[in-house]
């Protein structure tokens, strides 16, 4: 046995971790250790915290380096070998597995509100709303490759459209839903026009600005939007004359959401393989080549903005109906960031990925409530960690590929 290199390796690893521990102890020293109370002008020294940071950093740096190393060696393996791809192919190709899994998920979804409390159902409705938002933004960011940081603006447009229409004219939920989508689509085109010439990050900041402008107008234009106090008493979805209790309303809304999510998945899935969907992907990959192939850039981009915004409009309308109260505080930039994170974290361009991403990002903070004050800390950290160790997202997008197999030409999905 060769002991020497092993010991040397262990020594160097321990040294690296010690350096990390000392560095983080230095880094967190003023903020973690010193606490000034300005009233009685005293300093509280919290030395124990420094010890925790040191020990924590020492141990975590081992795991960190081990994981990074694993990721680097793992990347060399061909992608087709990954267990995820194989499992995915297996599930999709084998009916004996695919159908029962789908049936099980379907059954679970149907009985969910009866198995769990209405609080759980309500959280699930929120998660489903974010699935829709994620799928909508996925059209703009994942398919068309236009980085939109102001997606929440369309969400707000949908919500305020229903709220105001309901407040002033008593418009019902079912009539407002398609109109809210159309309204948001109009705003999508309105935003789309001026930013057509911008690319990449300029687009990102302009959309961000647009989102903030909408929120600030809602906050300050009291005569129109009732300002920061918002609009209360919005009607819930009507039930064709049947009286429902609050709990039953939640269940009802849950089923509406399930139907809408299925509808969204259907539409987005069909869109992706349609003419316009392929045009988006082409646009994302190479704008110049795309134009050379005769694709109308203006029309394609505007279409992406409009269709993406439509879903936000729908969900906005649902939000207003769910909470019966809205105010501008629900439409901050953070909301856009969360929706974008759902898309990127789940895997850009992949429908299953977006669904998984939405469930992780919405349910994680909910169930982390046990750690109450640490939950947002853990949330931020897990966003960083998922990106560092799986930069392509949890479930990476499926690419249509055509391969030759001897004489016969067949379509292979990988």
């Amino acid at each position: 046995m060769e002991w020497k290199p092993l010991i040397r390796r262990a020594g160097s690893e321990i040294f690296k971790s010690s350096v990390a521990a000392v560095w983080f102890m230095f880094l967190t020293f003023p903020l973690m250790v010193i606490k000034i109370s300005p009233l009685d002008r005293t300093i509280e020294w919290r030395w124990m915290r420094m010890v925790y940071v040191g020990v924590g950093a020492f141990l975590l740096s081992f795991i960190w380096r081990y994981m990074l190393e694993r990721k680097e060696t793992g990347a060399e393996k061909s992608e087709a070998d990954s267990w995820q791809k194989r499992a995915g192919n297996r599930i999709r190709s084998d009916r004996m597995i695919f159908v029962p899994i789908l049936a099980a998920i379907g059954a679970f979804v149907i009985v969910f509100p009866f198995m769990f409390s209405s609080y759980q159902t309500s959280i699930m409705i929120t998660a489903l709303m974010y699935v829709m938002l994620g799928l909508g933004l996925n059209i703009v960011v994942g398919l068309a490759g236009l980085l939109d940081l102001g997606y929440v603006a369309f969400y707000a447009v949908g919500a305020y459209f229903y709220a105001l229409m309901n407040h002033h004219f008593g418009l019902g939920f079912w009539a407002a839903l398609p109109l809210a989508g159309a309204m948001a689509a109009t705003f999508g085109v309105l935003l789309g026009f001026p930013v057509l010439r911008l690319r990449g990050d300029y687009l990102a900041i302009v959309t961000l600005g647009f989102g903030e402008i909408i929120r600030l107008i809602l906050e300050n234009w009291n005569e129109f939007s009732f300002g920061p106090s918002g609009i209360a008493g919005i009607s819930r979805p009507s039930t064709f004359g049947i009286k429902l209790t609050l709990q039953e309303h939640t269940v009802y809304l849950y089923y509406i959401m399930i139907m809408l999510v299925l509808f969204t998945i259907l539409v987005v899935g069909r869109l992706r393989n349609s003419r316009i969907g392929r045009a988006w992907i082409a646009l994302r990959e190479d704008e110049i080549a795309c134009q050379a192939m005769g694709i109308d850039k203006t029309k394609t981009k505007l279409m992406a903005f409009a269709l993406g915004a439509t879903w936000a409009g729908f969900v906005g309308c649902i939000l207003a109906a769910k909470t019966t109260f809205i105010n501008p505080a629900s439409f901050t930039f953070m909301e856009s960031a969360i929706i974008l994170s759902i898309v990127v974290l789940g895997g850009m361009g992949s429908i299953v990925g977006v669904i998984v991403g939405a469930f992780i990002l919405i349910l994680l903070p909910e169930y982390l409530r046990a750690f109450s004050e640490y939950r947002m800390l853990a949330f931020g950290a897990s966003m960083v960690l998922i990106m560092v160790f799986r930069p392509q997202g949890i479930i990476s997008g499926i690419r249509q590929r055509y391969e030759f197999h001897g004489k016969a030409r067949e379509e292979v999905r990988t």
Binding site: T28, L31, I34, D201, I288, V344, L377, M387, V388
Partner: protein, 299 residues
């Protein structure tokens, strides 16, 4: 006229702070094409460190200019250290990743750092001591405060030093080379990782300067100040043409004046609407920002 001048200097002060933060954005973007969303948090950490150091030292009996300089230097060191660590943890493993991944990692870091400060210190507003003392010769001047003068002069000095650094030192030359073509610079023996680290360190230290000065001017801070300042400063950087250093300063000033005059003459409620409206307006007519060069894409 006096009111106009007051607004003018107010805008100049704001603009200086935006410029100091925007420099960090623009340098990082110029080199690795990343919107460093956590940059605002670095600025906030700088302000908090200065507050803690200044409070601790003033309890020990220190005051005056030496206190300001000492607190400022410690804040710069800590912000730089945070910026350096941030890059090593959240961005370096993602150099070859898809373009949006580092952005999400940056948003995650921003949430993390905000909550870190919230938990380690407090969620309340903390009053920040006025570290910048009134000059005796400014007693009869009403249109501009001493702290505004200090902020403006510091920004001018910092920007000049940065420009000289980038123009005349070896490291500055390497930075320009990496910004132009990372692969080529690497082939010619430039240590790209080192250049990126230095960029983050300088950008973070400048943000700390901005954080200390404006906190002392306004008089209170909390864990959330970095977010708004970060977005505004990024707007300033884009306004001026991202990647360009004079552009960041110009963008900061234009943004500062717009906000100041909009607040003064129209309504303080719509201050941000004017800021973002100006951004949208300028980008429609000059898609690369005021000083940015439009590069035609080669096929």
């Amino acid at each position: 006229m006096e009111y106009f001048l007051e607004l003018f200097f107010g805008g100049l002060t704001r603009g200086s702070i935006y410029a100091l933060i925007a420099l960090g954005y623009t340098m990082v973007y110029g080199i690795i094409e990343l919107i460093n969303f956590a940059h605002g948090e670095i600025y906030m950490i700088g302000a908090f460190t200065a507050l803690i150091v200044a409070s601790a030292l003033s309890l020990a009996g220190m005051s005056g200019w030496s206190l300001l300089i000492l607190a400022g230097v410690v804040a710069m060191i800590y912000s730089a250290a945070y910026g350096f660590t941030l890059e090593k943890i959240a961005y370096k493993p993602l150099r070859t990743a898809p373009r949006l991944s580092p952005l999400i990692s940056a948003i995650g870091m921003s949430i993390f750092l905000q909550n870190y400060v919230l938990l380690a210190q407090t969620s309340d507003f903390m009053s920040f001591p006025a570290l910048i003392e009134e000059f005796p010769f400014m007693e009869n001047v009403t249109i501009i405060r001493s702290s505004e003068l200090v902020i403006f002069i510091t920004t001018a000095v910092a920007t000049t030093l940065l420009t000289l650094f980038i123009k005349f030192t070896r490291m500055g030359k390497a930075m320009r080379a990496v910004a132009q073509d990372k692969t080529m610079a690497m082939l010619l023996g430039v240590n790209v990782n080192r250049v990126i680290s230095v960029t983050f360190i300088i950008g973070s230290a400048l943000a700390a300067v901005g954080g200390v000065l404006i906190s002392s001017h306004i008089g209170q801070i909390n864990f959330y100040i970095g977010f708004i300042a970060g977005i505004k400063a990024f707007t300033a950087a884009v306004l001026g043409g991202i990647g360009s250093i004079p552009g960041a300063v110009l963008g900061g000033m234009v943004l500062g004046w717009t906000e100041s005059f909009a607040t003064g003459y129209v309504s303080s409620d719509y201050e941000d609407v004017f800021a973002f409206g100006l951004l949208v307006f300028i980008l429609i007519f000059r898609p690369a920002g005021i000083l940015g060069r439009t590069t035609s894409e080669k096929v």
